[in-house]
Symmetry: C2
Subunit: 184 residues, 2 copies
Amino acid sequence: MTPSAKVDQQHSMEPRDHGQHDHGACVLSALERARTAFGDKGIKLTPLRQRVFEEIAGSHDALGAYEVLDRMARKSGERLAPISVYRAIDALLAAGVVHRIESKNAFFACHAPHQGQERHIALVCERCQTVIEVSGADIFAAMETASAACGFKLSLAVAEGSGLCPACATLPTIAQATGMVTQP
Amino acid sequence: MTPSAKVDQQHSMEPRDHGQHDHGACVLSALERARTAFGDKGIKLTPLRQRVFEEIAGSHDALGAYEVLDRMARKSGERLAPISVYRAIDALLAAGVVHRIESKNAFFACHAPHQGQERHIALVCERCQTVIEVSGADIFAAMETASAACGFKLSLAVAEGSGLCPACATLPTIAQATGMVTQP
DNA sequence: TACCGAATGATACATCATTGCATTAACGGG
DNA sequence: CCCGTTAATGCAATGATGTATCATTCGGTA
């Protein structure tokens, strides 16, 4: 991790990088974990799937399928059919290297592997869009308890949140401080 | 779905009826609560909003916006524009008399009011589609705890589940074993 | 009356996701 | 090596969900 990181500036649209973060290295390690996951599950990490994964992992955001499509088209000049991206995403979901955020119809890459069987929940920053995952064992246990208490046999649980990530939460609220909001 | 079928069991116009359940009365009381909720919040329960609410409340399912649209069109012969339904639903959401299920892009009516500030979670039956709500205080508390533990300032939490409702969970499973099509 | 704002209507478009079928790549057995 | 099977991809169309924009109506009210 060289502190003199050559920062990838090509994604001019993202307000990424509060805090410094070796993005290249982080994507590479994600890719390495993906290879392992695919290997373990006996699914093939094809070039297309890898490209899609890199696109998703290369943003810490949750990306919609069409956003992935757009970004890949911008890079390669060739626009895939939506179904191709969806199929690739299906494989990535099956391998467990990306997850879906139901409340956003979008997908994000695990950047920390889920060791063991522990369930996690996704937290989406409303300001910088970054997605982080936190352990959700207690949450899912509580959902199970609440369901069982009324006789409901829970088979699938969804839990996700949005708000401000640690970095954004501690930021001074510039707009308010400078009074620059034009309309109340 | 076969359009030829006279009886579209799942989405035909009414009676559901696991156990006995006075549907008319239940919709009326939902409507009464809706009136109160709209009054309390200073929002108007217009005829259109009421029609949409009746459609949603008249099913214990979660309905998609287009499903509401279809049902209303079948009844009145006039097909609204999608936006009209979405606007009505927005008002119903604002009044708190319907909720959205993120994982289904669908909406359902509260059939038991949320007394006090208590948060609830929706549980959707995979067999009969009925939605029930259960208290989710522990769940949301756990989400808050998990978020706070990593410095995330949670402002919106989504938790929902699917599985088998009490009625369906206790049904003999023979039907599944024999591959028979079953009805709620 | 004239005006204002909220609600609705109407058209179009944007976004999310799948179906069906044709084509190509990958791989193992003759 | 060829062939057959299966997985993966390409391609066109369509379904499903949701929004932007602008026009119109309607109820209150100054």
